[in-house]
């Protein structure tokens, strides 16, 4: 029958794949021991640079999921110049992101006018209890060291941005 070749070809495909896996290894990685590095831009976890935060509430207000909770108070800080008046600055009391609610859309990082929020590609922070997914400002601050520098842009990109 002229029908045979289609089925034989199918067998050849699986056989070739098997041989390729023998020769070149598999396409999967043994996760806990081998890890694939996520790309620089990967949205893994949000890191907070607390010194930059002025508690302007923009991130909290633009969050589509209402998962950023900020509390702050005003405080007198020493003046910038000698002999100046003491300045009133906003001091963060609480900056929580509830990762159980977060959709990882990145709007908060984008709207932040003072570069206080960053994306880090870190992804291993699952918790056995859902309440532990609420990261407070110290935990968010710890993620800062995993934040990579922004990648180089492709040819033809408008470099003047930012």
């Amino acid at each position: 029958m002229a029908q045979i070749p289609g089925m034989i070809k199918g067998l050849a495909v699986t056989f070739n794949t098997m041989m390729r896996t023998f020769k070149n290894g598999s396409n999967t990685v043994q996760y806990p021991r081998e890890k694939e590095a996520p790309p620089i831009r990967a949205r893994g976890v949000i890191a907070l640079h607390e010194d930059n935060c002025t508690s302007c509430m923009l991130c909290s207000r633009s969050c589509p999921d209402w998962c950023i909770y900020i509390e702050a108070h005003k405080e007198l800080a020493p003046p910038r110049r000698e002999g100046g008046k003491p300045r009133a600055v906003n001091k963060l009391d609480r900056f929580d992101i509830d990762y159980a609610l977060c959709m990882y859309c990145g709007i908060c990082v984008e709207v932040c006018p003072f570069d206080a929020l960053f994306w880090s590609p870190e992804y291993e922070y699952s918790e056995p209890s859902i309440a532990d997914l609420l990261h407070d400002k110290s935990k968010l601050g710890e993620w800062m060291e995993t934040v990579p520098a922004a990648p180089e842009l492709e040819v033809g990109a408008d470099k003047k941005k930012k």
Partner: protein, 218 residues
Amino acid sequence: MVNQLSSPAETTPVVDTVRDQVLADVQATLGAVVVDSLVKPGDDMWIRVSTLSWNESMKKLQAMGFDYFCFLSAIDWMPSPYGRGEDDPTEPAPERDTTIRPGYTGGDTRMQLLVRLVNSRTHVGINVKTDVPNEVYTVDSIANVFAGANWHEREAHEMFGIGFVGHPDLRNMYLPTDFEGFPMRKDFPLLARMVKPWPGIVDVEPLPGGDAESEEAS
């Protein structure tokens, strides 16, 4: 390339001969049934037909070449009395303007049906609207014209509470059978936005005894 922000009113009006011609044809076919019409050159066209001849005009439109049924839906033109749920629950609810203001091609009622048909040969689409009578919220079904409207009408039925006369099977599609209320109506509150206060309401606590002038520092 238009890079600047410019409102649609400022763009130079273009004459869209194709759509004007189609509109003329539609008006000729449907006659006085067309209450209002609008052509946005190079963009799209809208007509509003009278409620009583809804089914009839669909048949005529299908016969004149608009044979592709794209979607059917409804619009509740009453602005929501709840806003976005970003109010402070401790304060009294703010007054919101809930006057009904229809969109393109006007309208006399709160609810409007919207159907989009496309001519499969010329690929010109047309948005057909019709008023849904207030309080009664009932129109003729068009499931016998476009079989695909069947599910869309079921959806509109459960979401907006619009009855479709002559629809074969107006069961709920998405909601439980005993669900009360019509979720897509604007006066149906979105509970997810009611059960907890907006985190954005919170403001920075002022300095104890501090004055308002020192705000500029931040």
